[in-house]
Amino acid sequence: MITLDGLSTLRSFAINPWVNGLILGIMVLGVFLSFRVLNIADLSVEGVIPMTTMLTAVMIGADINPWLALLISMALGAICGVINALLTIYLKTPPLLSGIIVMALTFGIAIMINAMKAGQASFNPNDHLTCFNWLRKLLAGDSTDRNWLFFASYLSYIFVAALVLAALFAILYFFFGTELGMSIRAAGKNPEMSRANGISVNRMSIIALAISGALIGAAGCLYGQHNGSGLPTDGQGMIVIALSSLFLGEIIVANRNFKRSIISCLVGSLVYWYVIQALMIVDSSGYMLSVYKALLLVVILIAQRFVTSFRAKHPRKPKKQKEAGRVLEEAVIPEAPRPLTEEIALLCLGRRNNA
């Protein structure tokens, strides 16, 4: 028999992961750009998220248009990404350290705002317009049915988050198919070859980190609008969440091309939050959650190893090969024995090398 408590558990299980998964999925896309496209472990997420949630809470509280707040947050995130890249390029700091510096800076700003607002960086969603509540008002109308109000508010979260996510997804997908986007992917994967082909690797990393920062800023802004408040602790554990989602997505979706890679980020994010929701039902106390998240990341990493080696052993069969490419090695080449003199010459070279 389903109790009232059981029903609300079921309801939160069906809805909560979608809200978190979609909003923070935008952040996962940002981390994917730095971690996978540029091969940089960028920890600045932990600072950029609380900075943008707090700023958003202040901005919404001051009745600034929520979409403008979103753009401002994205611009701030992009600036953080540019600072991060410039530190690496001009001060030659290791990328990890540049990220930590930006994290400390943005976290500092979050604390500053918190102090200025005396810990009250929050707003009442009933009094101020957000990206979400216009839709809830539209759906709920004059209804006073509590269940319907509840449903309308969650529907608005999911719909708006999905809308923003879809827009950003499309921009990313098309951008990385252009000449500039392809050059960024090339610069991250093989800097040496990229330079040899006239691509400025520094410029590419500035652009990529700016986009990454903008995505993280967007996630922070929506997260703040959803929470109705901003706290300096909002960013805690965000890098664990982002990397867990990213790896989980890669386990589920084999990323053979760029499109599949960005889809895997979203799939990973949704599945991750379902797992977290399940853990919260098993243990509702809450104070163990960070420990669970850390352990979950370890489990995901172990699974990733198995899946990677499995995929290496069982490669995907090519779907349609018009004509099996003649392999160069298989071409019949008469094997001429190497003349002895050359062997001696090689030996000489070897000896000089050892001397």
Binding site: M182, A186, A196, P318, L328, A345
Partner: protein
Amino acid sequence: MLEIKDLHKAFRPDSNPEHNKTVLRGIDLTINDSDFITVIGSNGSGKTTLLNVIAGVYMPDGGTIALDGRDITKLPVEKRAKFIGRVFQDPRIGTIADLSLFENLSIASRRGQKQSPFRWALTKKNEEAFQKLLEPLGLGLENRMMDPMGSFSGGQRQSVTLLMAALSVPKLLLLDEHTAALDPGTAKKVMELTDTIVRDMKVPTLMITHNMKDAIKYGNRLIMMSEGKIIFSVEGEEKKKLTVNDLIGKFTSLESVPDSAVLG
């Protein structure tokens, strides 16, 4: 025409001057437009460093490099890429494993030009042009345009790199032991492809090789490096008469110098 004058380069791994390693000690070399020069020399003689300084990977300590009369000594790698095509020893470096063959060729075809965020990287027109280019290789690569470069063999990747280097016709082609990581049969094929490309496109070329037969067989000029200097240079008819034994003679005459004199 590339003119190199009195090129010097030393590596300083740390602040201790005793650890300095002088690699180039005054290189003078002029590469004419019709030149295909092969470079030989023992390990540590400075061949690869010379190529890297020409390509702009390392900045020289002294000397100048001029391409067609323009001083390019201070130009960074990505700016030089417009004029200089390169093929590396490691097949994995020359192409991007995670990107498709089509994408790799597209990058090379726009070498030295602006990358626009408003133009598609892959176009139908390019696809057909690249397929025409790949067909003569006889490797069936033209049917695998969308496959990631990592799924190709070393020989195939090296052939593609060569094609990429020659794609937006450079003023200079630098080949750094580009057949060294391949098996003898594949190496021979790639060498023949190199010769065809260099001749067809009339690109001045500098090729490092450890294979003395290749060094004699290909190109119109041969230079030998030792201890950061060019110690021997032959061209034209004289080079054609050269035998592997002659070269070994050169090496052994170097060998007879006491180690202490060399290592100083």
